[in-house]
Amino acid sequence: MRVVVDLATCQDHGQCAIAAPEAFRINDAGALEYDGSPGEEHREHVEEAADVCPVQAITIED
């Protein structure tokens, strides 16, 4: 699956990293790092991450 985070909107809440640690991580500098093509087996967690992002910065493109 393809995932895009609008980094201009992202406010580093980190909710995505709690919902889908397989794909999202807050690094030691406090900024978001993510995997733009996580495995299909993670879809449920990644959809959950998109739902819980308070600023709706995460888009699942397929």
Partner: protein, 413 residues
């Protein structure tokens, strides 16, 4: 009876309320395998949008500049493809429900049949009851409210915020950022004290005061004057505008007469079923449900995470009921979510996990209460067990262990 619509062969689910909880309920019903008809009726003229920015970015003018249309566009939720066949009726307030007959009645007189009902009607602001009048009284719940208030936040304008809860404090910070002279009137000894306790409340008050917000704590408003509010000690606070942020009331009147417990939202069991009513579930801010993580006491929880959490459980319940299956066997049981909320005040991110308001003792585990901006972690214990943690100014990379601390196995009830 007027024309009845909506009772299709496969069954019809009505979702009352087109806020975030209504949206999540629609998505989750589809995810739970319900493929019958779904209609969402919403009193507002808009499709679902996100409320937190209304006291933050939108109020500050950082997003959604222009009118209501632009403001809504900047905050609207995306809708998932799995709800493309859900029917949305914004601008359609439900005025009555007859649960025995399985009908809801809309403001325009239409009567709609339903086999399942999701109550997602949320809250409305409680209004200040004080004699006198003021020409610029504001509340903040809708995008219209936010645009009206934003347009008044001019440099030098004197704003009195009545109520120092989270939304009140966010409005105070945003108004101050826009150059207003801001005073917060709060009846408790400290702002946000009910949830955070006096220690952290005081710390955050200092954070505000250092940035120019004035506080009148332990005071209530007794009267409104055309250019001021009068407090219970007889003093006056000059006010070009008054923001009433004194809590909310559940939108449940339309359910009157059905024998439901509506004393504080809709009383639900642990599967989010309205007590004793098959085919009726409640979600979001309006639902009062027990969380066995803490105890068996049903509570309403006004956090942004609650619509998604409750919708997941309620949709599993309703879909199973409509299929004639046992709802307790569907979805997560027991339903014991870890609540969380955040708040932004003068660039300080406050993040909570668990239920700090239920604590009987708090413990500062990181930081200096005199300097909230440099990072604070406060853990709240109940009967010796950590039930909540509040982090202020701590980067998200360090949230996980704190969340884990309060997200362990639910206590036995």
């Amino acid at each position: 009876m007027t024309a009845m619509t909506g009772r299709s062969a496969g069954g019809h689910v009505v979702i009352a309320g087109a806020g975030m909880a209504g949206l999540r309920a629609a998505e989750r019903l589809r995810a739970a395998g319900w493929d019958g008809a779904v209609t969402v009726f919403g009193a507002e003229p808009h499709l679902p949008y996100n409320r937190p920015p209304l006291s933050k970015e939108l109020l500050a003018g950082a997003v959604g500049a222009g009118g209501v249309r632009e403001a809504h566009a900047a905050t609207a939720f995306r809708r998932r493809a799995n709800i493309d066949d859900v029917v949305w009726e914004p601008g359609a307030r439900i005025v009555r429900a007859c649960l025995a007959a399985g009908t809801v009645t809309l403001e325009d007189g239409r009567e709609v049949g339903c086999d399942g009902l999701v109550v997602a009607t949320g809250l409305r602001p409680r209004r200040l009851r004080a004699p006198g009048t003021h020409p610029a009284r504001h509340v903040l719940r809708t995008v219209e409210d936010a645009v009206a208030l934003r347009d008044r936040l001019r440099p030098g304008a004197r704003a009195v915020v009545v109520g120092g809860g989270f939304v009140g404090c966010e409005v105070a910070a945003t108004a101050r950022g826009a150059g207003c002279e801001v005073t917060v009137v709060e009846p408790m000894p400290e702002p946000m004290g009910l949830v955070l306790g006096p220690e952290l409340g005081r710390s955050l008050r200092r954070h505000h005061e250092e940035r120019g917000v004035r506080f009148r704590v332990g005071r209530t408003v007794t009267e409104l004057a055309p250019d001021a509010v009068v407090l219970d000690d007889g003093s006056e606070e000059p006010a070009d505008l008054v923001v009433e942020s004194i809590g909310s009331l559940p939108n449940v009147e339309w359910l009157d007469g059905n024998g439901l417990d509506l004393s504080d939202g809709v009383l639900c069991d642990g599967l989010l079923r309205a007590e004793g009513r098959p085919g009726v579930v409640a979600v979001g801010d309006v639902a009062r449900f027990p969380n066995p993580r803490y105890d068996g006491v049903p509570r309403r929880v006004e956090h942004w995470c609650v619509p998604a959490d409750t919708a997941r459980r309620a949709a599993a319940t309703l879909a199973a009921q409509l299929r004639g299956e046992d709802p307790a066997a569907a979805g997560d049981a027991p339903f014991a979510p870890v609540p969380s909320f955040w708040s932004d005040q003068f660039g300080l991110r406050v993040q909570s996990f668990g239920a700090p308001g239920l604590g009987d003792r708090c413990e500062l585990v990181e930081g200096d209460l005199r300097r909230a901006a440099s990072g604070i972690a406060m853990v709240y214990h109940r009967d010796g067990r950590p039930v909540g943690v509040v982090l202020a100014g701590i980067p998200a990379s360090r949230h996980r262990p704190y969340r884990d601390l309060v997200a362990g196995a639910p206590a036995p009830v």
